[in-house]
Symmetry: C2
Subunit: 265 residues, 2 copies
DNA sequence: ACCTGAACACCGTTCAAGT
DNA sequence: ACCTGAACACCGTTCAAGT
């Protein structure tokens, strides 16, 4: 493995994946001759665990090192900077939906309608963003061209190719669907996390936020209007309503794709 | 104005807007009796300026104080925490697309087709996210229920009400459109920023990232497939292609809405 | 090759004190 | 009412030194 901080002068690098070289492999040299049993994979796994448990804001190299029973500076042997490590964690999370191994769930015989598969992939991406709320910040901040993220992108591209859209249409549709899911999962993930850390149910927290908004007199009237709308939509918990909205939005996107295909553009 | 850090015990507050009280007003007491001319509005404006110039990562209370020619701790008289200040900056940015003042551009006589207005609002939101790349992180992290953000949300709700969708459909469509724009603008804004800070053109940076991805042998083939696709889409700079994708996605979303309306659901 | 300790230049925030 | 200075408990990262 290379201490990596060799590139001198040069414009500042902005991603582990640019001029990196087998980032996760750990140098290729077999197992356990290391004093503390450290390697990139173990460090990355610990990072993901800590990010899940305590959030991006509280994560630090020193906190991580403590978790690994090691000095803060040991980690720097395996990783150039904190940002590089976060990029590794980002890609590690994407491995969870990486369709490299189709698994027994999707019986390999049926090729499945693209509509079904779109719903499945979108749902998996949404679930990933909610399960790892820190992922959204990182996916937005970094280039996100690690192997697993790319694998995911390619799966999406293969899927969208089966819609019958033109080449240009495929790119636009891909963007419409998965940027939507990104936005939706981002907001949902952070909301869930904020409720948890405030020790409130999602419904209680939602009600509290609504009260705060309606305290502003100018907004009150306008928001009341949308309260009517909310009532007209039927009841349900915040979570149920969110699930319905997500499902409807996907239906809308699928209908949009079908219409664009029919229009031949 | 109240030193604010009065709420004792209590579950930790998670937003300036919850139990706040006229956050931007500055206490209501007229102009300039303050030694340093400081107030919330001035502090918030300086925050936005610094975030634009140096990014969220480099922003600090001490850096801000220096910019205001004041001790770091002076700011804490007007603001409880750094997070509260960031929420104020977030809402201040949303004021830029707040449609409170329709302006001379949209002649008040024509009520405009909802399709046109949707394109206008979506375009304005996208531009805002690209102009202030830090905004996306904050909008995702915080509740985003400041007065200007709410104003924007309500404008979107009014717009979507004119589509003819059912109440439930309106919420789903709103989500589909504006979460898409959020995702799109987030990625675009960060990409633009990263290119600038690496001192490269968007096209050069894109080519460099592509080369890095295609170095991985397993991915090479798959990515080459999408290179064909890219060629088939016709040429153009990264920016032109992005504009086309955005426009197509909006067309797709509008077509989807129309279809759902026709289906009566 | 891998790990440590001390050090540098930073953070956000509290608190007692000034005017 | 508003602002300051010193202090506390942190950061990411460098560097020389250990084994």
């Amino acid at each position: 493995m290379v201490r990596a901080a060799e590139r001198d002068g040069h414009p500042p690098r902005t991603s582990v994946w640019l001029e990196g070289g087998a980032p996760l492999a750990g140098g290729g040299r077999g197992g356990g001759s290391r004093p503390s049993g450290l390697d990139r994979a173990r460090i990355t796994a610990a990072t993901v665990r800590l990010l899940d448990a305590e959030g991006l804001a509280k994560f630090s190299m020193r906190r991580l090192a403590a978790d690994l029973n090691v000095t803060a500076m040991s980690v720097y042997w395996y990783v150039d900077t904190k940002d590089d490590l976060l990029e590794l964690a980002l890609d590690a999370a994407f491995a969870e939906i990486s369709p490299a191994d189709p698994g027994p769930a999707s019986a390999s015989a049926t090729p499945a309608d693209w509509r079904e598969e779109l719903r499945a992939l979108a749902g998996a991406y949404r679930a990933l963003l909610v399960r790892h709320p820190w992922l959204s910040s990182l996916a937005g901040t970094f280039l996100n061209i690690g192997p697993h993220a790319v694998e995911f992108q390619l799966a999406v591209q293969r899927l969208v190719r089966r819609t019958g859209l033109s080449a240009g249409g495929q790119a636009g549709a891909l963007s419409a669907v998965f940027q939507f899911v990104y936005g939706f999962g981002t907001v949902e993930g952070h909301f869930v996390q904020r409720c948890a850390s405030a020790g409130m149910s999602q419904d209680d927290y939602y009600r509290r936020a609504m009260r705060a908004v309606t305290r502003e007199p100018e907004l009150r009237e306008a928001v009341d209007g949308s309260a009517d709308l909310r009532r007209a939509r039927g009841d349900g918990t915040v979570e149920e309503i969110r699930d319905r909205d997500f499902a409807f939005a996907l239906d809308l996107l699928i209908a949009g794709i079908e219409t664009m295909v029919r229009r031949g553009e």
